[in-house]
């Protein structure tokens, strides 16, 4: 579950955002949309514990994440918040499976091979388990990015423009897959996108105005 209250952020005095309060329960999902430059990515970074807001609170499973120390917040994020970025980046020197393994290791968990195998099979990447991640196609990389975000069974999964480089069919498949996986493992899903194709997939939507 993720809840925000009165989150406000400013880059300087002339760029101040007041973000809408949101609440997404376990297994629920929400689309946050807005025009380019409206602060969608900034809001996602605040939700992820990457960018500290000027004021307001962000609760993940009832933990006020910005009250945690820097080190504790790093570990908390690793364990409870999964992130999918518009352009996926992986550890170049590691294989597909090892990229999931390091996500577990960095979160402070033991590398659990059956879990990795399960996700790779689910996302149809099992045949690439030992291949270098950089050799995957765009769609495969996006799926690997989703697998990595889910490998620690996070409470919240945040996805920033996950479909921007995909065609309609693949875009639809990715969103449905994300929703399905989050429902299965009880994660709250937040999609941040300006992609109007996604509106039909979400009952709960919020628009950010610049």
């Amino acid at each position: 579950m993720i809840v925000t209250k009165d989150v406000c952020f400013e880059y300087n005095a002339s760029h101040r955002w007041h973000f809408p309060d949101i609440r997404i329960d376990a297994g629920g999902s929400m689309l946050i949309s807005g025009l380019s430059g409206s602060g969608k990515t900034t809001f996602m970074h605040i939700l992820a514990g990457i960018l500290k807001p000027l004021s307001g609170k962000v609760f993940v499973n009832d933990t006020d994440i910005y009250r945690l120390s820097s080190g504790a917040l790093d570990k908390f994020r690793g364990r409870h918040i999964g992130l999918v970025f518009q352009t996926p980046h992986f550890i170049r020197s590691l294989s597909v499976a090892e990229n999931l393994g390091i996500a577990m290791k960095l979160a402070g968990n033991k590398v659990h091979t059956p879990r990795i195998q399960e996700l790779l099979t689910r996302l149809q990447l099992d045949q690439y388990a030992k291949s270098p991640a950089y050799k995957l196609s765009t769609g495969e990389r996006q799926r690997l990015s989703i697998a990595r975000a889910l490998v620690n069974s996070p409470a919240v999964l945040l996805a920033d423009e996950p479909t921007s480089s995909l065609d309609d069919l693949r875009s639809s498949r990715v969103i449905e897959l994300l929703k399905q996986l989050c429902v299965e493992q009880g994660s709250s899903l937040v999609i941040i996108s300006h992609d109007t194709r996604l509106k039909s997939h979400f009952a709960s939507q919020t628009i950010i105005h610049s």
Binding site: G78, F85, H89, S93, I102, A103
Partner: protein
């Protein structure tokens, strides 16, 4: 910990060309540094070991350094011979200042290994004994040093003909010399010599002049035209320095002397000998210090060269890490997002630097020791000077420490940059 070193290794392996160039540059610096340091150390050790506690060398007038190099290190020609009569007082066991002495008679060799006429005290001076067989007990019997025996395939019962000077197979003597024993290895020049009695040397040179122009061949006796045929098979030999006193007209090349103590009187002994007698007393310590002083400037330059080479290696690591950091900034940001702490990221950069240093050390030291092995083979062949190419020296331990510290220093700035990775900005830029 091992996980991070494995990841660091994978990261290095992922950019093989850059890693290889950096490691090779570092290894080059390390190999040259190690070669110079080990050679210097082993030269000093060899010089000290070959000193054999000798305080003075009594011999013919001439260059004192040449006397030292010839009689202690066996890498130069003798300055001449002196009559036993002239050194008689110093051979006497009752001399108030002298604790031990050993005579040397040089001039002949067998296949470039020097044949040294001497007495049993030589074995005490070089702290060795008989490993196989027995000591020489008659004229024309000899024992071989461990390396000489190996190089020349000598064993008890072997016999050979010695030749004048240090050139092989030139101007051979007629008389066969029989090996009766092999010496225990000492790590000193004694390993490269063949030892025999003074009588062997005296009886080998019945017709030659002591003033022979060939400086390498200073034979022992011209006045007594003894011929080997005149020797009875059971002829006795001198086994102690004192026994030489009974042959006042014979010659020796030098007498190595250990003093009882180093008081004022003892220190003046050399000056008194040089000023008041026809012989010369050379102090090995003083001569070697003079030699070191001469070589000191060169050594200093080499030390600066070592520092420059290591600094270049450190700079190469620094540049490689900085470039890798630039190329992998998104990777590092992703690692932070996944829960990696800034300390873990800095540690990863440090681990990469240390791995490159360890690789550089392994390759560099291997090159240095292999180089030393080649150089040692040449030196042993040419100068009968032995290097232990595979011996680990304290200098190498220090060098390893310096290189690892250098690796840490080179990683400081890149590690701090990784530590300070600004997450939001980096991810937005991606």
């Amino acid at each position: 910990m091992m996980y991070w070193f494995r990841l660091a290794w994978r990261n290095l392996a992922d950019r093989p060309l850059s890693t290889l160039l950096t490691v090779l540059l570092l290894a080059l610096g390390i190999s040259i540094s190690a070669f110079l340091l080990i050679t210097e150390r082993q030269l000093n050790d060899n010089f000290s070991r070959n000193l054999a506690g000798v305080d003075l060398i009594l011999g013919a007038k001439g260059s004192p350094l040449q006397t030292v190099l010839c009689n202690l290190y066996h890498i130069d020609s003798p300055t001449g011979n002196v009559e036993v009569n002239e050194v008689k007082a110093f051979l006497h066991p009752a001399h108030p200042l002298i604790r031990a002495r050993v005579p040397l008679l040089l001039g002949d060799s067998y296949k470039t290994h020097r044949l040294v006429g001497t007495t049993y005290e030589f074995l005490d001076f070089y702290q060795t004994g008989i490993a196989t067989g027995r000591k020489w007990q008659k004229p024309f019997e000899a024992v071989a040093g461990s390396k000489a025996a190996k190089a020349l395939s000598l064993k008890p019962g072997s016999s050979f003909k010695s030749s004048h000077g240090l050139l092989p197979d030139v101007d051979e003597h007629d008389h066969l010399i029989t090996i009766t024993g092999i010496l225990q290895p000492t790590g000193s020049i004694a390993d490269q010599l063949i030892l025999t009695s003074p009588q062997t040397v005296w009886y080998s040179h019945p017709h030659q002049s002591e003033t022979h122009e060939d400086v390498e061949h200073i034979h022992s006796d011209e006045a007594n035209h003894h011929h080997p045929e005149h020797l009875k098979p059971d002829s006795t030999i001198d086994t102690s320095a004192t026994q030489l006193i009974s042959h006042p007209d014979r010659s020796v090349t030098s007498v190595l002397v250990r003093l009882k103590n180093h008081n004022f009187q003892a220190l003046n002994l050399a000056r008194n000998i040089n000023e008041n007698t026809a012989i010369q007393a050379s102090n090995p310590a003083i001569e070697l210090n003079r030699l070191y002083d001469t070589m000191g400037v060169g050594e200093q330059i080499l030390r600066y060269l070592v520092l420059i080479l290591l600094a270049v290696g450190g700079a190469a690591i620094f540049i490689a890490l900085l470039q890798a950091l630039k190329d992998r900034k998104y990777e590092l940001a992703i690692m932070r997002v996944m829960g990696g702490s800034p300390t873990q990221l800095a540690g990863l950069v440090l681990a990469e630097s240390l791995l490159m240093c360890v690789l550089g050390l392994v390759i560099g030291l291997l090159i240095a020791h292999t180089g030393l092995w080649f150089f040692g083979t040449y030196a042993a062949d040419k100068y009968k000077y032995s290097f232990d190419a595979w011996q680990w020296t304290m200098q190498e331990t220090r060098l390893c420490g310096i290189v690892l510290i250098l690796g840490c220093l080179a990683a400081v700035f890149p590690a701090v940059s990784a530590y300070k990775t600004e997450l939001s900005q980096t991810l937005t830029d991606s």
